[in-house]
């Protein structure tokens, strides 16, 4: 089911049940009328049959649905107000008030609700247990989870610029909350309200079923209570027992579906998506007569993001990477350089598709590899260093586990001490103390994390390393150190590098050859020195001109 399908189903079901509760009682007649036709199965005059005392089940169901919805709405409103007061006001006020409110919410959250409700209901004499009393108790025990969610959201809103601006300009607190903050919380409040309604209907049904519900009320719970005490199931009068529970389940399910599709609208990641069968479509199996000394050859590669408006992200790109060479790939963000890098290793995610072209790695036709061959190819012959090492490292395991993973998978025969030795060795290569093997990613600085990523890429002595903006997030000094490190390692170990960045001056210094990309195309591809001294393409000249020289003269780089 698509998200819109879910939304329509959910809304339709919920609307039907609400309409049934609102208007059903007007048409079904008196639910209390007793007839001498007890336990008549459904049919003709009584569409849903009769109870033990001959009351019409459909009429009872309509009234009970109305009763349950009423309690649900009462509790929903009260619980939402409570959670708003403790969640929003607390978080907005901050300081001691927030601490106290948040502690109170958390305490109320961990104290189990229904036992508390049962105890309170037990102390209040039955004749004083009205609908309002029960609703109030249910609201008091049911607001805390919502308050916690609202608090988190308010805290983040509170620090937004427009709220800060309103506060600085001297607006009153209640005005800031009502005008600036509440409207932004509305979707969240709505979904919390829906949950509170469902929870209240469920809890009330439980209470009434136990005989602890509101006196003289008629809800789905009391209906089930009478059905159970009339031995409806033992007498096989399923039409008496099944419908009330089904209405509760369907109503809860409908509201859950609505919430679910709202989630999907807010967070597109969650939407259903047809599983892609292939990541490569119609690749030409041409084994390119590789240039002597080439390790990686890309020929006429095309990558398209399929969709209603297909985006042609990589257009007819051809590149050759020689053994031990550093190839720079330059271009603005969005020019397709990352997509190209991912496609070389077939890491591009749907809806991206390689539509034509070839990627040849020495003698291997990468685009033709089966899933298992591809897995064995990756990292052994071609490894990658991604941009933003914080997110590239698994936050919940120490870096030792993430380094050893590679060896465990690709060198299954390696002994544990050897693995440990190899991990320490690569860390030392990139200048990280092997004692940090036990550290978690968050315990390392940005530069250290990037070095760990490079160490990881070195583990299996690959012939090619693709580095996607490996130094962008780092400060200039650390960046410089890491670049020197990369050059030194390349000289020592002899692997080839594809270095991707938007920083052309950096590439001029680092690379042997440079490819400039724009809108998915390689517009210029030349030796670094040639590119610098004799840029051919206007875009290259433009790029070179946009970087000021050290003397401060704009465009000095172009001469």
């Amino acid at each position: 089911m698509t998200w819109s399908g879910k939304l329509v189903t959910g809304l339709g079901l919920a609307a039907l049940i609400v309409l049934f509760g609102l208007f059903g009682p007007l048409f079904t007649g008196d639910p209390a009328t007793i007839r001498d036709i007890g336990l008549t199965p459904p049919g003709g005059e009584h569409l849903l049959g009769t109870t033990l005392t001959g009351q019409d089940v459909l009429a009872q169901l309509a009234h009970a649905t109305r009763g349950s919805l009423w309690i649900g709405v009462l509790v929903g409103v009260m619980a939402t107000v409570l959670s708003g007061v403790f969640g929003i006001v607390g978080a907005y006020a901050g300081g001691v008030v927030d601490e106290a409110f948040s502690l109170f919410s958390n305490v109320m959250l961990v104290i189990p609700g229904l036992p508390l409700v049962i105890v309170v209901a037990g102390f209040v004499p039955a004749d004083q247990r009205g609908t309002w009393t029960i609703s109030l108790v249910l609201a008091i025990t049911g607001w805390a989870a919502a308050a916690r969610v609202l608090r988190a959201q308010t805290l983040s809103l509170r620090n937004r610029d427009y709220v800060a601006a309103a506060r600085v300009s001297g607006e009153r607190t209640w005005r800031v909350i009502c005008v600036e903050i509440l409207p932004n919380l509305l979707p969240l409040l709505a979904s919390q309200f829906v949950f509170a309604v469902v929870l209240a209907i469920l809890s009330e049904a439980g209470l009434s079923f136990l005989g602890l519900g509101a006196a003289n009320s008629s809800t789905l719970g009391t209906m089930l209570y009478y059905a159970q005490n009339g031995f409806a199931l033992q007498r096989e009068a399923w039409w008496w027992f099944v419908p009330p529970g089904l209405i509760i389940a369907l109503f809860g399910g409908a509201l859950a579906l609505i919430n679910f599709s709202i989630d999907e609208i807010i967070n597109p990641k969650l939407r259903d998506r047809a599983r892609r069968k292939r990541d490569v479509v119609a690749a030409t199996a041409e084994v390119a007569p590789a240039e002597p000394g080439a390790v990686l050859t890309v020929r006429n590669l095309n990558v398209v993001y399929q969709g209603d408006n297909p985006v042609h992200a990589v257009k007819d790109v051809s590149l050759t990477l020689r053994r031990g060479e550093i190839l720079g790939l330059a271009g603005e963000s969005g020019c397709g350089k990352t997509t190209l890098a991912y496609a070389i290793n077939r890491l591009h995610r749907p809806p991206a598709e390689v539509t034509s072209g070839s990627v040849t790695f020495e003698d291997v036709d990468v685009l033709a590899l089966g899933p298992e061959e591809l897995r064995e190819f990756r990292w052994v012959r071609l490894s990658m260093v991604f941009q933003g090492a914080m997110n590239s490292l698994n936050p919940v395991t120490p870096i030792r586990a993430q380094l050893q993973d590679v060896l465990r998978t690709h060198r299954p025969g390696m002994s544990t001490p050897d693995r440990e030795l190899r991990c320490a060795e690569v860390l030392r290569l990139v200048g990280v103390d092997p004692a940090r093997l036990g550290a978690y990613p968050h315990e390392l600085s940005g530069g250290m994390r990037q070095r760990v990523m490079i160490a990881m890429a070195l583990l299996l002595d690959p012939q090619v390393m693709i580095m996607d903006e490996p130094t962008t997030a780092l400060d200039v000094l650390v960046q410089r150190e890491i670049l020197n490190e990369i050059k030194r390692l390349r000289d020592e170990l002899g692997f080839a590098v594809v270095f991707i960045t938007h920083d052309l001056p950096l590439l001029l210094e680092l690379s042997d050859r440079i490819a400039v990309m724009r809108d998915g195309e390689v517009v210029e591809y030349a030796d670094a020195e040639d590119l610098y001294l004799r840029p051919q393409h206007p875009y290259t000249r433009e790029l070179l001109a946009s970087f000021p020289s050290l003397t401060g003269e704009p465009g000095a780089l172009t001469r």
């Binding site: 961990v110 079923f209 809860g252 679910f260 897995r375 315990e443």
Partner: protein, 332 residues
């Protein structure tokens, strides 16, 4: 303050709040529970000496004879000594003994059912999220409806179908009453046989929540950079799914355990009643129906302590599985 200390302090505060709530509720609500209890006690032929009355008054309130503070201190003192009074519905048994008999049944039933439900739900959720785009997606709407089914209704339907209808399971009870409770294989077998259907009810009703939460987190985790890195590293699919995606996706489920446990405990009380299970939930309702206020309060306290304890354990576990929490505690 360290993460663990902070958690401990929080749960002690929550415990104190629950104990105080237990003290305040009977004093604030209408009705005169002490008189009702004394009348009941008399019917049962119990002693109506002033000592019995004082004991109940300490628990439920003297009606203004003594100051609030004195009553509170006396109440706390009784709790510390484990004196919860005498049950009138199970007269002359003490409340603590009634609870002691019933508690193991509930702890085993609800504990095991919750554990099974959590493991199954999280496991299935991980697979459904990982295999997104296949027929498994249709499980998602189905489980949302399932999680909105009232426990007791499902329990009764299951009894009607599997016990009355097919005769696979006993109708109710916690063990075959002809057996003497004890640690012999026959009795344990009987207890497992009787506990299966209640446990099944709890698992079916609660699994949807775990599954859905895990599935959504799994889908989010799968688009994280560390999963991409893992793929680039050429790791096997199963290793990426378990060690990278699921390992991270499970964290919110564990963090939200407190909320879910509340639902399960609430549902279990009603489920026990349906099955006349000899656990603490049935006893609580028996106490409510008989105005056995002392037993009611004792059971509420015990349930609360058990829930707080379980949450504390899960929170401590969370500190173990997510190193960031331990280190962040100094900031927030």
């Amino acid at each position: 303050m360290g993460y663990y200390l902070r958690k401990l302090a929080f749960y002690l505060t929550a415990l104190w709040a629950a104990v105080t709530l237990n003290f305040v509720i009977p004093r604030m609500l209408p009705g005169n529970p002490v008189d009702i209890l004394m009348a009941k006690l008399q019917q049962r032929g119990g002693s109506v000496d002033p000592a019995a009355r004082t004991a109940y008054e300490t628990l439920l309130g003297t009606g203004g004879k003594e100051s609030f503070a004195t009553e509170y201190l006396a109440y706390l003192g009784n709790l510390l000594r484990g004196e919860l009074g005498v049950s009138v519905s199970a007269f002359p048994a003490k409340v603590s003994d009634v609870i002691g008999d019933a508690l193991p049944w509930t702890v085993v039933l609800v504990g095991l059912a919750t554990l099974i439900s959590f493991l199954l739900g999280v496991g299935l959720g991980a697979v459904v999220g990982w295999k997104r785009g296949t027929w498994l997606d249709s499980l998602v709407p189905a489980t949302t409806v399932l999680s909105a089914v009232p426990y007791f209704w499902l329990a009764l339907i299951l009894v009607a179908a599997l016990s009355s209808g097919l005769g696979w399971f006993p109708l109710n009870g916690g063990y075959d009453v002809v057996l003497d409770p004890g640690w012999d294989p026959e009795f344990i077998g009987s207890a497992i046989y009787h506990g299966t259907l209640p446990a099944l009810t709890i698992v079916i009703s609660s699994i949807g929540g775990w599954l859905l939460g895990m599935r959504n987190m799994m889908v989010s985790a799968m688009s994280e950079d560390y999963v991409l890195t893992a793929r680039a590293k050429g790791l096997t699919d199963s290793r990426i799914m378990v060690r990278y995606a699921a390992r991270n996706a499970v964290l919110p489920s564990v963090a939200g355990f407190a909320i879910s446990l509340g639902f399960v405990v609430s549902g279990s009380i009603v489920t026990e009643q349906v099955f006349s299970y000899p656990g603490i939930g049935s006893k609580l309702l028996q106490a409510v129906q008989n105005n056995d206020y002392a037993l009611m309060q004792g059971i509420f306290l015990v349930i609360t302590i058990a829930v707080l304890g379980a949450n504390l354990v899960v929170d401590l576990l969370y500190g173990l599985i997510d190193a960031r929490t331990r280190d962040r505690s100094t900031v927030s």
